[in-house]
């Protein structure tokens, strides 16, 4: 019964979504895509299409270019993944037919992207030329560009791009120390609001899943900057300013990553820069509640979708481990040692399992998030990022 429902659903989806192409057999047969995802194999420029119900690899799609630091977003129907490559390529991958649907090289050097809430626009943040570009999500036709000119000779590299409700995007100017809000709600060029003097060297940012707070991490100083987008006139507010005052920073061998998984109930858990700590602040007031001493410098601090736990991985040379923080007691309740170079973690949509990429073991480990039992090992070539299609339905991912 359940299977039949699935088949009917996926057939309907394929028929409306793909037109004539739907007639050609998908290598994986008709199926839904809600439990699919991709794994980036950065050294070989390929991705794996995986499914998280049986924890298997369905297909490998190659020739995506330089996938170092690659990330992905998903179409609203969860059929397409948009993969952002370091070489400035934007590749639209058809998950159902396991092939590249379209691919463009839109810049010389890029860092990531986002999809608008209505699913129509793809925005890519570029280092070179510095700024963001907007594309039609169906055709990948370029719709516009926002150059990150901030008054210096060269444009700023842009980082921390995030989607906000109302066809808006936010991003940060790494060199310029500004946050820009691009409102694409109406036809014509986006309306850009610039927030200046937000702090030195914003390196990445996140927007919370409710679309309310945009928080950028600062590399050039201790602290972060936060914009409340629900305010009449959003103003940058410095948070966690000087959290490490008087302490010697450790050398940072890998920058932390921020994305929309910081919120755990009424708290935010954020990676400290240059310190073996996770910072905990109260949502709303942004007062520091505590700090959790962890194994190394955190790279990803990811709240499980229910917010009860947060999983943390670490920078080189301590990147063989994962620690799990109880977000109530702020204790480290579990330490796992998947192996050398744990680069990324991704939760299933409601958080019952987590996939962990272990680059140097050429493997993904899948864990039960309650028992911490390892459920499966999925082979992959030098895996880095893991992105599940269910991100399509969350702001900020």
């Amino acid at each position: 019964m359940r299977r039949r429902q699935f088949l009917t659903l996926s057939l309907a989806c394929a028929a409306t979504g793909a037109g004539a192409e739907a007639a050609s057999a998908s290598p994986m047969g008709p199926r839904g895509t809600g439990d699919l995802g991709i794994v980036v194999e950065r050294a070989s420029g390929s991705i794996l299409i995986v499914e998280t119900s049986g924890r298997t690899v369905l297909a490998r799609v190659a020739q995506l270019g330089d996938l170092s630091h690659a990330s992905a977003v998903f179409s609203r129907d969860e059929r397409f993944a948009y993969v952002f490559g370091r070489d400035g390529a934007l590749t639209k991958v058809d998950l159902v037919n396991a092939r590249i649907d379209r691919r463009i090289v839109q810049a010389g050097n890029s860092i990531g992207g986002a999809i608008s809430d209505d699913g129509r626009l793809i925005a890519v943040a570029n280092y070179e030329p510095g700024g963001i570009k907007l594309f039609d999500s169906a055709s990948l036709a370029e719709l516009g560009e926002i150059a990150a000119d901030y008054g210096a000779e060269q444009r700023s590299k842009t980082v921390g791009i995030a989607d906000a409700p109302g066809r808006r995007f936010l991003f940060s100017l790494y060199d310029g120390g500004e946050v820009w809000l691009a409102d694409c709600a109406e036809a014509g060029p986006p309306k850009v609001t610039k927030f200046r003097g937000i702090g030195k060297l914003p390196y990445d940012a996140l927007i919370t899943n409710d679309g309310r707070y945009y928080i950028a991490g600062l590399f050039g100083e201790d602290g972060m900057v936060c914009l409340d987008l629900w305010a009449e006139q959003p103003k940058p507010q410095r948070i966690l300013a000087g959290y490490g005052r008087g302490e010697e920073k450790l050398p940072v061998y890998k920058m932390p990553h921020l994305r929309g998984w910081a919120q755990a109930g009424d708290r935010f858990l954020l990676p400290a820069v240059g310190r073996n700590e996770v910072l905990v602040v109260e949502a709303g007031t942004f007062q520091e509640i505590g700090r959790v001493a962890v194994h190394g410098q955190p790279v990803f601090v990811m709240a499980r979708p229910d917010g009860r736990h947060a999983w943390v991985n670490f920078a080189h040379p301590k990147n063989d481990r994962v620690q799990v923080i109880d977000t109530r007691s702020l204790a480290v309740v579990r330490e796992l040692r998947p192996g050398p170079a744990v680069l990324h973690m991704e939760f299933t949509s409601r958080g019952h399992e987590v996939w962990v990429s272990v680059r140097d073991a050429d493997r993904i480990d899948v864990y039960d998030t309650r028992t911490f039992a390892k459920l499966a090992e999925v082979p992959a070539r030098k895996p880095s990022g893991i992105f599940f299609a269910s991100r399509a339905h969350r702001t900020g991912l």
Partner: protein
């Protein structure tokens, strides 16, 4: 063809001298395992900022076009000491002076895959 009875072993003094020469040999002589580790470190870890192809990212390009003519000692000093005020960290402690020089020499001519 040598007669069978010939002793092919080197006299002890010469063998020792050769061993010494190997030890003192070119400063960049690292063993193959460590070289492979350094290639991996540069591609993967330096690559997180400079790009896995080293063409630049948040950090600048490390390709021969940009750094080929720059002073090797200066570049090695940057690797070991970092650049204060930027995200470039000091790698001293994780790699030796000799290894930094080895990396610089390879970067200047085209880094191995």
């Amino acid at each position: 063809m040598l007669p069978r009875s010939t002793d092919l072993r080197l006299p002890r003094e010469i063998a020792s001298l050769l061993a010494l020469l190997v030890l003192l040999g070119p400063a960049q002589a690292l063993d193959a395992k460590r070289e492979a580790e350094l290639v991996d470190l540069v591609r993967q870890d330096c690559g997180s900022c400079h790009g896995m192809t080293l063409k630049g990212g948040l950090g600048r390009s490390l390709l021969p076009e940009r750094i080929g003519q720059l002073d090797a000692d200066g570049l090695a000093a940057i690797i070991l000491g970092g650049v204060p005020g930027t995200p470039m960290p000091p790698w001293r402690g994780l790699i030796t002076d000799e290894e930094a020089r080895w990396i610089v020499d390879r970067l200047k001519t085209g880094f191995p895959e």
